[in-house]
């Protein structure tokens, strides 16, 4: 690692102020990616802005909407019972990242800001309709997560901006979500493909609403909108599942890399889409959701 300046703000205003003065400073959250890049000297960094002592970024509130401070660790998120129940996909995705040790360090904001196509929290947050609250010394803006990722490793964040929090709308009755990914190794691995699904049912188990999102299936985590569109107004039959899986796999834009070929990834999107939907369905049936 090269030598760098360490900025350690005590609150959000101070953090944003520091960032406005030193826009080259890189926010340090869990450090599980940035430190690796610095150690391998693939990234030269002038200054790190530590988010560890910025209380606003560690907030957690479930008050109709769910607000997750960007510096919460994915381990903290995976362990919350209400997230497991009402935002299941997010709990699953957060609980699959790295190892126990990594999950105790890696943060939700870090997982998103790295903009890895395979980020395990991204597809769940996409199907849960997450909004990203972005702050700078000039104020805040709120964007849907769909518009947040630009390309592998790049987001819409400006150098002076930070992700403050992620906001998820209220979870409704008979809504369920699920996330499933494929990795060769059971422990400590990176998604070859990950698929999240969220479903809302009416009392007759007809799908009112459905969302699908794919990880590691395109340059950035993406919604599978064409596949989703096939679902509302129907029951989840095997035939429909196959149709949706196929459509999702056609929508995906995977690449060949060392982990898998594009062809296999496309196939996995098909299979995992069906499995994620089944998982979301089971959750939706059992889920009484947030009590109003």
């Amino acid at each position: 690692m090269n030598r760098f300046d360490y900025l350690s703000p005590r609150n959000l205003a101070e953090a944003l102020q520091m960032l406005s003065v030193r826009p080259e400073a890189i926010p340090l959250a869990g450090g599980t990616d940035i430190l690796v890049q610095m150690k391998e000297r693939s990234r030269h960094i002038e200054a790190l802005l530590s988010l560890k002592r910025v209380p606003e970024l560690h907030q957690y509130s479930l008050n109709g909407t769910l607000t997750l401070g960007s510096a919460l660790t994915v381990g903290q998120i995976a362990a919350k019972q209400e997230i497991q129940r009402d935002y299941t996909a997010l709990a699953i995705g957060s609980g699959l990242i790295g190892s126990v040790q990594i999950r105790n360090m890696a943060t939700l904001g870090g997982n998103l800001c790295n903009a890895a196509p395979s980020a395990d929290t991204a597809p769940p947050l996409l199907v849960l309709g997450a909004e990203v609250v972005i702050a700078s010394h000039q104020g805040e803006r709120v964007v849907p997560l769909e518009t947040f990722f630009l390309e592998p490793g790049r987001t819409i964040l400006q150098p002076t901006e930070l992700v403050k929090e992620i906001v998820l709308s209220k979870s409704h009755t008979r809504t369920g979500s699920f996330y499933i990914r494929h990795t060769p190794r059971a422990g400590m691995d990176i998604a070859v493909v990950g698929v999240a699904a969220a479903i809302t049912l009416n009392t007759n188990e007809i799908i009112l609403n459905a969302r699908l999102a794919l990880g590691a299936a395109a340059p950035v985590p993406m919604r599978a909108v064409q596949a989703e569109a096939l679902l509302p107004g129907h029951r989840l039959t095997d035939e429909l599942l196959r149709e949706v899986g196929k459509t999702a796999s056609q929508e995906a834009e995977p690449i060949d890399d060392l982990r898998a070929s594009a062809e296999y990834r496309r196939h996995l999107v098909n299979i995992l889409t069906q499995r994620a939907l089944r998982g979301a369905m089971a959750k939706a049936k059992s889920n009484q959701g947030y009590q109003e």
């Binding site: 360490y6 599980t32 422990g187």
Partner: protein, 157 residues
């Protein structure tokens, strides 16, 4: 520029000057001479640097020392109380869960943290808790058995 760092290591208060680029692992090993914590990869992938920070296992290789300000760090050297080994330490010895011993400190801290939060783990839960601790010598069989045995011992204690 150096920063003053106040934290506690194995229940002892420590204050020292550190440079921002120094990792917690480097400070533990090179400044405090707590050599029980190992460096097997430096990139968070092997778990030999596992220590507990406020009771939770983390990779000391990926934590800047300055970030440990005010926190409680436990290393393998802190597991022995009144010269009594921790139940997991005893069980690892008795069950042959130690071979080369390089992964052992990290395995111990992950196991101790697991048993603290979940005193009755299943085999699957033990394996999940240890997934971040690579061991190339044992095939994990005897490590998992040792944790199972320690569970029983702690239950009786």
């Amino acid at each position: 520029m150096e920063y003053k760092l106040n934290f506690s290591v194995n229940k002892q208060p420590v204050d020292l000057l550190v440079e921002p680029h120094q990792t917690l692992l480097e400070i533990l090993r090179d400044n405090l001479f707590l050599i029980g914590t190992k460096d097997g990869c430096g990139t968070g992938d092997c778990g030999s640097c596992t220590v507990l920070v406020d009771g939770e296992p983390v990779c000391a290789c990926l934590m800047l020392a300055v970030e440990a300000e005010g926190q409680e760090v436990t290393t393998v050297e802190g597991l022995v109380t009144d010269s009594e080994l921790h139940a997991v330490q005893k069980a690892l010895i008795a069950n042959g869960g130690v071979q080369c011993g390089f992964c052992t400190p990290g395995v111990l801290l992950s196991s101790v943290a697991l048993l603290t939060r979940n005193p009755q783990p299943s085999e699957v839960e033990i394996r999940e808790a240890l997934a971040g601790n690579l061991c190339r010598c044992t095939g994990y069989d005897k490590i998992v058995r040792a944790v199972q045995e320690a569970t029983k011992e702690l239950e009786h204690a």
